[in-house]
């Protein structure tokens, strides 16, 4: 691994287990407000990361539970009744970015992760 030259840039970090270590994913500057990116975790899981226009970060599982494709990071984000969500780009179901709860089907929820910039 090469040493990062810009030490000033904040990293987006994920907490993979409760009270576990923080796992650095990417530079904060690569997260564009309103658009997501996907990250690969050491155990093969995929996470979708988002940043809203006020700079808040969110992380949920990248796998769309309705189709099986790993695409949630590519959906459009928005605010519904004050809560942030992403709409799956395939069949458009919306997921709450804080809890992972599907807003269009109460029986479906994806994992939500703790995320921070440090």
């Amino acid at each position: 691994m090469t040493l990062a030259l810009e030490t000033t840039d904040l990293k987006v970090q994920l907490q993979l287990t409760e009270a576990g270590d923080w796992f650095a994913v990417c530079d904060l500057s690569t997260l564009f407000p309103g658009r997501g990116v996907a990250a690969l975790l050491p155990d093969g899981r995929q996470v979708a990361l988002f940043r809203d226009r006020n700079g808040r970060l969110y992380a949920i599982d990248n796998r769309d539970p309705f189709t099986g494709a790993a695409v949630l990071s590519r959906g459009l984000t928005g605010t519904h009744q004050g809560r942030p969500f992403v709409a799956s780009p395939l069949l458009k179901q919306r997921f709450d970015l804080e809890s992972g709860q599907c807003l269009d089907d109460e029986s479906v929820r994806v994992t939500a992760y703790e995320v921070r910039a440090a």
Binding site: V25, C26, T30, F32, P33, G34, R35, V37, A38, A39, L40, D43, G44, R45, Q46, L49, D52, R53, D61, R63, P65, T67, G68, A69, A70, V71, R74, G75, L76, T77, G78, T79, H80, G82, P84, A87, P89, L90, K92, R94, T111
Partner: protein, 873 residues
């Protein structure tokens, strides 16, 4: 615990779980009878009750599950014992026992027969041969579909009534050459009169179905293998066909009743009284199509059956109810043609008069039957049944305007549009569920319903055949407006403006940022937020179409614009079901030189892509991983290709025919014009996609009349057609102007497109827009041809700005490292492909590995095996 209760709880046995049977169960539950009774249902079919009325929609993509009318939670919640695939075989009325096929014997206190009908098959020789079918159940449809696909190219339907036409439409939809053989001298003899039948015939023949009226079927001809090869008709002719569907009427299924000594009518049907109790046995009821009602009729429609179900349930609950007869009004869309008849459609009342409007050119026929005193008694509408809901509700009263005003088409001197607000409160709006205007108004005023879905849920109106939904919508809006509630026409939860209003705001105030628009013009609660998936792409599209004029960057991946785009636009490719993308380079007019064909072939081979010729005269390459898109496009751009915008709400293709250059009939160079148009309007972002075509003569090989703007060559120039549509609701385009020069044609299209982009709703194709905007085609012609609003100069200059600022999105992107960095599966592992995107071979190419997608849905702890499994492939 249950044995004791079973012995003391009275038992209701329902035989037949069809549409009426299910309704009966709901009525029992509503009256609390499921709590006080044990309810056993014997259901013959392999699935619980489904929507038989919508049966044909199976062929337009509805699955058997979509058609289901049975909520299993309802069945469980009410403790109903539903025995699927276990029909009743005999009834012992003396012992009050029913025996089912499984051997189960149930003691009943009350028995309800809802066995429906069976299709009547005329006793012609070989009627049971391989390749002969009926049209009643989902199983029938599955069998028809399988046979048609495996071994038929031609199909004939015996019977030209309502079901016969549906069956013929289904055969045609399966790709067969379809024939209809009807014994009566016209189609739909029961519902329509001679004039209506003639209008229907012309329209149906125009759709490519062959109709043989006034002839009977004498014999089914079979080949050596015993399968159908044709049929002999009563006029001595023979019709070759690979399959036959009998649709010659239905007969009540009353055998079970006959066998146990219940009285049946002379022409069938279990005789019942006004309470739907059999005349023979007070413990037995009959409802639905198997019953011969007290008025001496067997009803073959679902609405009267529902009323009978309610009546029987009420009677069992010892409430007062009676079924004394029902209205036979129907409105149908048969093969896309509206057909409606209501009240005394055939004018059987003494001294009644007809008002008829008939226009055989456009397949319209409308007849009203009026009593001497001006009372509306009934009528028939063919070709345009928009007025059905209103007219049916006025039946039996003197309408507030002259009857002819009600049948004349708009614009032909029809002075009034009689809205539902003119109806009395007791007018029945939904005849399937017998819901009056008063009840619907009550739902809005007393139950605080504010949307059509809420009203449907609350009153059941509109949940049957669906023919009343239009009037229902008008009523709900009118009622909300009357009670001072402002009907929200806003684009979404973030904006109270329509798309058209937002366009005007963006243009007038030169707003180039979505956030600025949201924070200044959005709804109070949405300001400062992140918007939503509806308004972001809509506003992105408005800003993109106006970009050069308002001074925004027209590149959809620049700055904030990138966050507004739908996924497809964001990756400049079309997302497929497994997360891979398809790539469609532009092939203007469908013309392509061999060198370029070879490039496409080489790229597809080198990247292992699946290739297919599209319906839009170009080539689609499927299965590209997101990180492959830049390298694929680098090679395409290098070879002179541009983005085909298959992903955008923008111009797709301008199809062409070879035209004058090669074709012996061509009168203009249609290929050149198609290429010119495609290059002129490429990249133009619009409310929905835009399609076009240019044909070299009136033979129309490019199908221009099914396009948003279509051009057909004449010996004097070009005819321009607008508002055509293929897709789910096809519409023939309307002629906007004739014999135009090249320059005139382009000027008119410029104005037309810009006017559409300015005024259409989100995701509204030109066809629906043209139908919706006040004044329709005439208004559009006034604006774009006669410049009635004086905006043509502006429309033209908006288009000129678009044309001169066009840049190929892919060429821009592959030269921009910052944008290219987005084309990765994983931000932290840019070279690793997404393991869920995997492929398996099929027919010399490949397709997505679908099982892998569903494996991926297993809980997270098994994910590691999954990923391993996928790499082993």
């Amino acid at each position: 615990m249950s044995t004791a209760t079973t012995e003391t709880t009275p038992t209701i046995v329902l035989v037949g779980h069809g549409m009426v049977g299910q309704r009966f169960l709901e009525a029992l539950a509503e009256r609390g009878l499921t709590a006080t009774h044990r309810v056993v249902v014997l259901c013959e079919e392999p699935r619980p009750a489904y929507d038989r009325v919508q049966l044909t929609s199976y062929f337009s993509g509805k699955t058997p599950e979509d058609l289901s009318m049975t909520d299993m939670a309802f069945i469980e919640e009410h403790g109903i014992e539903l025995r699927i695939g276990d029909p009743a075989e005999s009834i012992d009325r003396e012992a009050k026992k029913v025996t089912a096929r499984s051997g189960l014997v149930v003691d009943y206190d009350i028995l309800v027969l809802a066995t429906g009908s069976y299709p009547f098959v005329p006793p012609v020789p070989n009627k049971d041969a391989t390749g002969c079918f009926v049209y009643r159940t989902i199983e029938d449809l599955l069998a028809i579909e399988e046979y048609a696909q495996a071994r038929a190219t031609t199909g004939a339907v015996v019977g030209g009534g309502l079901l016969g036409l549906e069956a013929a439409g289904a055969l045609k939809g399966l790709g067969l050459d379809a024939h209809i053989v009807e014994f009566a001298p016209r189609l739909m003899p029961v519902q329509v009169d001679e004039g209506g039948g003639a209008a229907l015939l012309r329209t149906i023949e125009d759709m490519g179905l062959s109709v043989h009226t006034g002839v009977g079927t004498q014999e089914i001809v079979v080949g050596e293998d015993g399968a159908v090869t044709g049929m002999k008709l009563s006029d001595g002719s023979e019709l070759g066909t690979d399959m036959v569907v009998f649709s010659a009427g239905v007969r009540p299924r009353d055998q079970l009743a006959r066998d146990c000594g219940l009285t049946v009518g002379e022409r069938g049907g279990i005789s019942v009284d006004e309470q739907c109790r059999t005349v023979t046995d007070p413990h037995v009821f009959a409802i639905g199509e198997c019953a011969l009602a007290a008025d001496g009729r067997v009803y073959g429609l679902v609405a009267p059956g529902y009323e009978q179900a309610e009546t029987a349930a009420a009677t069992i609950a010892a409430d007062e109810a009676a079924f004394t007869g029902a209205d036979l009004s129907t409105k149908l869309k048969l093969l896309g043609v509206d057909v409606a008849s209501f009240g005394d459609a055939h004018g059987t009342a003494e001294d009644c008069l007809d008002v008829v409007y008939s226009d055989s050119r456009s397949g319209l026929y409308k007849k009203l039957v009026i009593g001497r005193d001006g009372t509306l008694l009934g009528g028939i509408l063919v070709g345009d049944a928009d007025a059905y809901g209103t007219l049916r509700a006025f039946t039996g009263s003197v309408p507030p305007v002259a009857p002819e005003a009600l049948v004349l088409p708009a614009g032909a001197g029809a002075p009034v549009q009689l809205g539902p607000s003119a109806l009395p409160d007791d007018a029945v709006i939904c005849s399937c569920h017998n819901v009056t205007k008063g009840t619907i108004r009550g739902a809005v005023t007393d139950h605080e319903c504010t949307t059509v879905p809420e009203v449907k849920k609350c009153t059941k109106a509109g949940t049957g055949c669906g023919s009343c939904i239009k009037v229902l919508g008008q009523l709900v809006t009118a009622e909300l407006e009357a009670s001072g509630v402002e009907v929200d026409k806003g684009l979404c939860g973030c904006f109270s403006q329509t798309r058209e209003e937002l366009y005007e705001i963006v243009l007038a105030l030169r707003i180039t940022s979505y956030q600025e628009l949201l924070d200044r013009h959005g709804r109070e609660a949405a300001r400062g937020g992140d918007g939503c998936e509806v308004c972001k792409p809509t506003v992105g599209s408005i800003i993109a179409s106006l970009a050069p004029t308002i001074g925004a960057d027209g590149y959809v991946l620049e700055g904030e614009q990138a966050a507004l785009q739908d996924t497809n636009d964001h990756f400049l490719a079309n997302l497929q079901k497994n997360g891979s993308y398809s790539v469609v380079p532009r092939i203007p007019g469908g013309e392509i030189a061999p060198e370029k064909l070879i490039v496409i072939g080489e790229i597809a081979r080198d990247f292992g892509l699946y290739t297919k010729i599209t319906g839009g005269q170009r080539i689609d390459m499927f299965g590209a991983r997101v990180e492959q898109l830049p390298s694929i496009w680098a090679r395409l751009v290098d070879a002179g290709f541009e983005s085909g915008h298959a992903y955008g709400k923008s111009l797709r293709t301008v199809k062409s025919c070879v035209g004058q250059t090669w074709c012996r009939y061509g009168v203009q160079d249609s290929v050149r014009m198609a290429i010119d148009l495609e290059l002129r309007y490429r990249g133009l972002r619009s409310p929905h996609k835009l399609k076009s075509a240019v044909s070299g003569c009136a033979r129309e090989c490019a199908e221009a009349q099914s396009k948003d703007f279509g051009v057909i060559a004449t010996s004097n120039g070009w005819n321009l057609y607008v508002g055509g549509n293929g897709g789910a609701t096809p519409r023939h385009a309307d002629l906007l102007a004739q014999d135009l020069s090249d320059a005139e044609l382009i000027r008119l299209i410029d104005r037309f497109l810009m006017f559409y982009i300015r005024t259409a709703d989100r995701l509204e194709r030109t066809s629906t827009w043209l139908e919706r905007i006040p004044g329709g085609l005439d208004h559009v012609r006034d604006v774009v041809v006669h410049n009635s609003l004086g905006i043509c100069d502006e429309l033209e200059s908006l288009m000129a700005a678009h044309v001169s600022h066009y840049r190929d999105e892919w060429a821009q992107t592959i030269n921009d490292p910052e944008k290219l960095a987005r084309f990765v599966s994983f931000v932290n592992a840019p070279d690793t492909p997404d393991p869920v995107v995997a492929f398996v071979p099929e027919r010399d190419q490949m397709k997505p590995d679908l099982p892998l997608l569903s494996i991926g849905l297993r809980p997270a702890d098994t994910l590691e095996d999954v990923l391993e499994g996928s790499t082993q492939r």
